[in-house]
Symmetry: C2
Subunit: 394 residues, 2 copies
C-alpha cells in the first residue's frame, strides 16, 4: 500500500482494544468517558420527535448549512453570550462532536512536524486528532493548580502552532486550574500572540461543588487576548454522545477557513441531532437535565472518592470537583499495566496512565471514570482494584 | 494567521455562496443535489422512535464503535453480500456521510501534491475533500459511455495515488458507463495495481429505466482486481442527508488504517442516525421507500427532459437514466455565468459548469437538479431558463 506519511503517525485510542470489555455488561468499566446509559433523556427525545412539526422534521432530514442549523446557532449564540463570550468578535460552528473541532484546528494550523503543546497528561482523543496530521506533540507539566508556568515558558521556545488545554475538570487528570494560574497562563501567552490557545471545555457544566464555580469561568470570556483563543465544547456529556454534536467558538478571522475546512470533512453536522438539541434547549429541558446530572454524578464521584479512601488508602489523588474522571497514582512498585491485567481478569477495567502521556511513558497512574457506574457497583469495582494493588505489592 | 499550507488549496462548494437562494421558498432551485423535502419518510421515523425499546434508545444516544453500530454493520453486510460484494475480502465502515469517506481515502493516500485523477466534470464535494489535502487533481475526459480510455492511459502516466469515479448516474454529468467501458477501464487499471480506484455509487439505487439495471452493477462486485477498489455509497439519497450516514467497503488490508483515521476525525458516526437506518432496513421500510422514490424521481426526470425538448430545443443533453442530475450544454454564444445571473434575477438557480471542472474552466454546461422540484414547478423553471437563454442569444 502506498499510504500517505501521516498513517505512520496515527495514534489510536487505548479504548479501541478493549471495546468488548467496555460494553460487556458483566464487566465493571471505569474505562470509557461515557455518560451513564440509564441517565439519557429518552422520554424527552421521544416526546420532542412526536410533537415536532412536519416542516421541522423535513429540515432535520435534509442537508443544512455547514456551520450549523440556523435555529441551533441562534440558541447557542444566546447561551454563549450569557456565559460571557463576546459574540461580536467570534462565530460559532456546530461540529460533529468536539473531536471534529480538534481535527479542524489541527488541519488549519499544522503542517507535518509543526509543534503542538499539550498538557501532560493529555486527553487521548485530542492527541489522536493532532497526531493524525503529523503534529509533534510536546507535553507541558502540570501540578495541582494547572499547567506549570516555568515548563510552559521553556516549551514555548519550540515555536508551537497551538497549545491545547482543558483547564476545567481535566481529562484524565481530574484537575481544575485556579483562577490565578489561568491569569498567569494568559499573561505568558499574550507575549506569544501567534500561538493559538485551544480551550477545551467539554465538562464545564458538570460541577459538583458550588465553591468551584468562580474558578471555572472559561478563559476566553475574560482574556484580554481573547482573539488568540479557540473555545470548544460538546453536547456529548450534557445530552448524548450518540448524537455527535459539539461546537467551537472561533475568532472572526478564522471562521471562513474553519467553515470551508469542515465542509471538506463531512459537508454538515447531523441536522437531525441539531434539531433535537435546539428543541432540548428551547423547551428548558437542557437546564433541568444538567441539574439532574450534577446531582447523580456528584453521588458517583463521592462514592469513588470514599471507596478509594476506604479500600485503597495508599492511592494518591486530587478529588475532582466536576467532570467524569479521577486520576489515581498507584503506590510504588505497582506497575499500571500489570495492574490492568490483574483487574481485567477479575472483571474491572480502566485506562492506564501511559496512554495519556504524550510519549506513552509509564507513570504509575490510572484513569478511573466514575460517570457510567452507580455507587454500589463503584464499591464492588474499587474493592477488586484494591485486591489487585495488594496482590502486586506482595 | 499562521495557517497550514493546505488552507490555500481549499476548494469551497459553489453552493456555499447561494445557500440563501437554495433554501428560499420563492426560488426555483435546480442547484442542490437534495432529495425532495416532501418525500422524507417522516411518519416512519416517528413510529420507529416511538416503538424503539429503551435499551436501543440508550445505545442510540451513547458512544459506539468507530466502524459503526454493530446492528447496522450486520444489516449492511447482508445487503452488500446480496449485491454481490465479496465480504470475506472486505469490511464496511459506516461514515459520517460519504463526504467523510472521500476525506478518509484522501488522508490515507495523499501527501501534498500527490496526483488524484478524477473524471472531468467532477462532483464538487469530492473535489473539495481531495483539494483540502493538497492533492493535485487532474481531470480525465468523458464521452457518452464513460471515461475516455486513451485519455485515461495518458493521465495514468502522472502516477496518481487514486482515481475517483462515479460510473453510475454521474454527478454532474448524468451519464452511466456502459458495461463494456467499465470492463475496458478495469483492464487498464489492472496494469496499474498500485492505483486505488475510488468507486462512488451514491445514486445506484435510483434507476428510472429497467434496461439500465444490467449496466449499473458496481465494478467492485465483478472486477478481477476487486481489492484495488474502495466502494462508497450513502443513505443521503435513500433515507435523509440530515442523518449524515454513508458507508465504505474497503479491502481488509486498508481497514485498520481507515478505521483509526476515522477515529481521529469524529470518533464515531452518529449512533442515533445509525439506529434509525438499521430499523428502517430491517422493517422492510427501506425497500418500499426506494421503490416509491424511483417512481417520483422518474416523473421529475421526465418532466425536465420533456420541458427542455419543448422550451429549449437548442440545449444538448444525454437523458439521465437515474440519479438527480441533467447536464445541459448551452447553445453557442451563451455564457453559463451570465445565464446564471439572468435566471437568478427571475428566481431560478442552478450550478454553472465551471464549478465541476477540475481547473474551474468554463464549458457552456449547467447542472440541473430535478430531484427537489415537482413537475409543474420544473415546467415554470425551465420556461424561465429558456427565456434567459433567448435573451443572451439576441
Amino acid at each position: 500500500m502506498r499510504f500517505a506519511k501521516c498513517v505512520s503517525a496515527f495514534r489510536p485510542s487505548p479504548i479501541r482494544g478493549m471495546m468488548n470489555a467496555v460494553i460487556n455488561p458483566n464487566v465493571i468499566s471505569f474505562a470509557g468517558g461515557m455518560p451513564g446509559n440509564e441517565l439519557f433523556p429518552v422520554e424527552d427525545v421521544r416526546e420532542i420527535i412526536e410533537k415536532m412539526p412536519r416542516k421541522e422534521m423535513d429540515t432535520a432530514l435534509q442537508y443544512g448549512p455547514t456551520d450549523g442549523l440556523p435555529r441551533l446557532l441562534k440558541d447557542m449564540n444566546e447561551w454563549m453570550t450569557k456565559k460571557g463570550f463576546d459574540m461580536s468578535k467570534n462565530r460559532i460552528i456546530i461540529t460533529t462532536g468536539s473531536t471534529q473541532a480538534m481535527s479542524i484546528v489541527t488541519k488549519l494550523f499544522v503542517d507535518p512536524h509543526d509543534v503542538v503543546l499539550t498538557e501532560d497528561p493529555v486527553f487521548v482523543g485530542s492527541a489522536g486528532a493532532f497526531c493524525a496530521y503529523q503534529a509533534d506533540i510536546i507535553g507541558v507539566k502540570m501540578d495541582r493548580e494547572g499547567i506549570v508556568i516555568d515548563d510552559l515558558e521553556k516549551k514555548l521556545a519550540r515555536n508551537p502552532k497551538f497549545i491545547y488545554m482543558t483547564p476545567t475538570f481535566h481529562n484524565p487528570a481530574g484537575l481544575t486550574y485556579s483562577r490565578e494560574r489561568r491569569e498567569q497562563f494568559l499573561e505568558i501567552m499574550a507575549k506569544h500572540p501567534d500561538v493559538i490557545i485551544l480551550e477545551d471545555d467539554a465538562y464545564g457544566e458538570l460541577y459538583y461543588d458550588e465553591d468551584v464555580k468562580s474558578e471555572i469561568i472559561p478563559m476566553k470570556t475574560y482574556a484580554k487576548n481573547e482573539n488568540q483563543i479557540i473555545y470548544t465544547s460538546s453536547f456529548s456529556k450534557i445530552f448524548g454522545p450518540g448524537l455527535r454534536i459539539g461546537w467551537m467558538i472561533v475568532p472572526n478571522e478564522i471562521y471562513e477557513a474553519a467553515e470551508i475546512c469542515k465542509q471538506s470533512m463531512d459537508a454538515c453536522t447531523p441536522q437531525f441531532s441539531q434539531m433535537l438539541a435546539a428543541e432540548f434547549i428551547e423547551s428548558g429541558r437542557m437546564e433541568r437535565y444538567i441539574e439532574m446530572l450534577r446531582k447523580v454524578y456528584k453521588e458517583r464521584r463521592d462514592a469513588m472518592v470514599n471507596c478509594l479512601h476506604k479500600y485503597c488508602p495508599e492511592v494518591e489523588f486530587v478529588t475532582p470537583q466536576g467532570g467524569f474522571f479521577l486520576w489515581a497514582k498507584m503506590p510504588e512498585g505497582v506497575d499500571e499495566k500489570e495492574l490492568f491485567t490483574v483487574c481485567a481478569e477479575k472483571g474491572v477495567v480502566f485506562v492506564t496512565g501511559d496512554a495519556f502521556n504524550p510519549e506513552y511513558k509509564k507513570n504509575r497512574y490510572v484513569r478511573l471514570s466514575f460517570s457510567n457506574t452507580p455507587p454500589e457497583v463503584i464499591e464492588r469495582g474499587v474493592k477488586i482494584l484494591a485486591e489487585g494493588i495488594a496482590s502486586l505489592r506482595k
